[in-house]
Symmetry: C2
Subunit: 291 residues, 2 copies
C-alpha cells in the first residue's frame, strides 16, 4: 500500500527548517500571474528625469481625490515639465516643484483643497495586520495601501517611497505644485498631517541617490544644484509604445500572504533567528513592470 | 508689590499650546552643553571617502567586542585604505570591504568570532520606551543605544545609519572585513542575526546618496563602479588637529527627554495632529561635532 504524502513536514517536523524556505524576494519572483493586477494608466504618473531615469508613481485618488486631481491637471498642462527637485534631506524627504509656480493654473484646479489626510474605512477592502504599530491603534492594508486605522478612519502611512503634497503652515494643505517622497526611515509623524497622493512603484533609486542638500531642511543651497525633471506625464496620455504597464501584487492573493509571513519571520537559510513581527513600512507591496 | 513670574503657563495653562513649541531639531540646537558627552576617540572611526567626504562612525564594543576589535585592528594595519564600497541596495544597505581580502591578517585578528548578536542587559544603563515595537517584546535605550529586549537579553536595533558585519551563511558571523550600513527603512529582521559594530554619527549623507548597484542584491555590476574609500582611521590615532571631537546627547538628560517627547508627539506649529508614539528607529540619538 502506498501513501501520497501531502507534506514531508507532517512526518518530520524538523525538515521544514532544513529544506529550502523561500525568501520574500523569491516568493515575489515565483508568484503566478494571477497574484498580480494591472494598474490603470489613469492612475500612473511617468516622471522622466533630466538624466534619463524613469520614476513611475501610482496615484492614490482613494485617499486624496482633490489633491490627486490637481496633480493630474498639472501633468496634463505640462507644468511639471522642466520642473525641479529643490530639496533632498537625508533620511527624510526629496521634494520637487513645477517649472514655474507663478504660471496660470489649469482649468478646474482647486487652489485651497480641504485637508484630505484621512478617510472612512467604508468603501475599501481592509485587512488588519497582527503586529503592533507605535503610531496607530491598528494598522492594515486597504485596497492595496499600507494604512493606519483609528476607529472607522484610515490613512496612508508615510512609508519609504510614499508621495505627499508639500504645504505651508496649517490651515494650508498644499495644492499639489510641490510634492515630496519619503527617502528613509518612515516619518510616520507626518501621517494625518499631509495629503498622501501616491507611491513610487519603479525608479525610487533615482530619487534615493540624489545628492543631499546643504541648506536648512536639506534644500539645495544654490538653485543651480536643483535637479531637472524633464517631464511628468499621465501614463494614459502616452502612446502605447511608451506606456509602462505596471502591476502590483494583489494583497488578497496566496502569494502576498506568503510574502507577508516571510517578511514577518525570515526562515530562509541566511537567518538564525526569525523576527516576531514586521513594521507596517517594512512590508512594501510588491510591484513590477509587466513584460 | 511685584511678582517674578516663573512661567506664564502656570497662570494661563492654555498658553503653552498657543506659544511656540520647539520642534525636535530646535530642542537639539538649544540643548545645553551639559546634555552632551564626548565620545572617546578610541571608539571613533574616521572614514575618508575618495571624493573627500568624511564619515564618522561610533563603535559599539559593548555589543560586539570581538568583531569591533577586528575592525579596529584592520584600521590600525591600514587594510581599509583604498577599500571599496561594492554594494548599494536601495532602501536596505551600503556595503564595503577592505582593500585586499587576501592580505595577511593583523596580529590578534580573530578569524571566526562567536555570534555577538545579543548580550545581557546587566552592566548597561537601560531605559524602557513606552511605545509598542513590532519586533521586540520591549524596546529601549541601553547606554545610549537603541535596543530591543527580550527577558534579560538586549540587542542593537538595525536603524538607519547602524553599521554591521557582513557574513556568509551561518554559522559564519563575519570577521569584520566587510561592513554594511543601513540606508533606508530599518531592516529589523536583521536584529539578532548579524553583529552590530557601530553607528554613523556624521556624514551618512555621503553613503546615502551613492548610486544604487544594478547587480543582484544591489552589488555594483561592474567592479569599476566601486566607490573608493581613501582611508579608515581610529580617531585616537589621528593627530589632534585632524581628530574630530564628536558628542552624543546624554540619554539621561532633560534635553533628551524633551526631544523624545517631541519626536513622539509633534506639537510645533506645522502639525495639526500629533502622533501617539514613535518607532524605535525614528528617534535617532542626536550627535554633533564639538566646536
Amino acid at each position: 500500500m502506498r501513501f501520497f504524502l501531502p507534506s514531508l513536514t507532517l512526518l518530520f517536523p524538523g525538515l521544514a527548517i532544513a529544506a529550502a524556505v523561500p525568501s520574500p524576494a523569491e516568493i515575489v519572483v515565483q508568484a503566478p500571474d494571477s497574484a498580480w493586477h494591472d494598474v490603470s494608466p489613469e492612475r500612473l504618473l511617468v516622471m522622466k528625469m533630466g538624466d534619463g531615469g524613469r520614476v513611475v508613481i501610482e496615484l492614490a485618488p482613494e485617499f486624496a481625490p482633490v489633491h490627486v486631481a490637481n496633480v493630474v491637471r498639472l501633468a496634463r498642462s505640462h507644468q511639471w515639465d522642466r520642473g525641479a527637485i529643490i530639496r533632498v534631506q537625508d533620511n527624510y524627504v526629496v521634494q520637487w516643484r513645477v517649472h514655474d509656480e507663478a504660471a496660470p493654473l489649469p482649468k478646474g484646479f482647486v487652489t485651497q483643497p480641504a485637508a484630505e489626510y484621512e478617510r472612512p474605512l467604508a468603501g475599501l477592502d481592509y485587512m488588519t495586520l497582527p503586529y503592533p504599530d507605535p503610531y496607530a491603534a491598528q494598522s492594515g492594508i486597504a485596497s492595496g495601501w499600507l494604512v493606519g486605522r483609528e476607529g472607522e478612519e484610515i490613512w496612508p502611512a508615510h512609508c519609504y517611497g510614499v508621495v505627499g503634497v508639500g504645504r505651508e503652515m496649517p490651515p494650508d494643505t498644499g495644492d499639489g505644485r510641490e510634492l515630496y517622497v519619503v527617502n528613509g526611515e518612515a516619518p510616520r509623524q507626518l501621517d494625518r498631517n499631509l495629503a498622501v497622493v501616491g507611491r513610487v512603484l519603479e525608479g525610487m533609486e533615482h530619487l534615493g541617490a540624489l545628492p543631499r542638500g546643504t541648506g536648512p531642511l536639506g534644500f539645495y543651497a544654490d538653485p543651480r544644484q536643483n535637479v531637472t525633471i524633464e517631464s511628468v506625464t499621465l501614463a494614459a496620455d502616452l502612446p502605447a509604445s511608451l506606456r509602462p504597464v505596471m502591476q502590483v501584487m494583489r494583497t488578497d492573493s496566496p502569494s502576498f500572504h506568503d510574502y507577508l509571513a516571510a517578511r514577518a519571520a525570515r526562515r530562509d537559510s541566511f537567518f538564525v533567528r526569525p523576527a516576531k513581527g514586521v513594521a507596517l513600512c517594512n512590508m512594501p507591496v510588491p510591484a513590477r513592470e509587466k513584460k
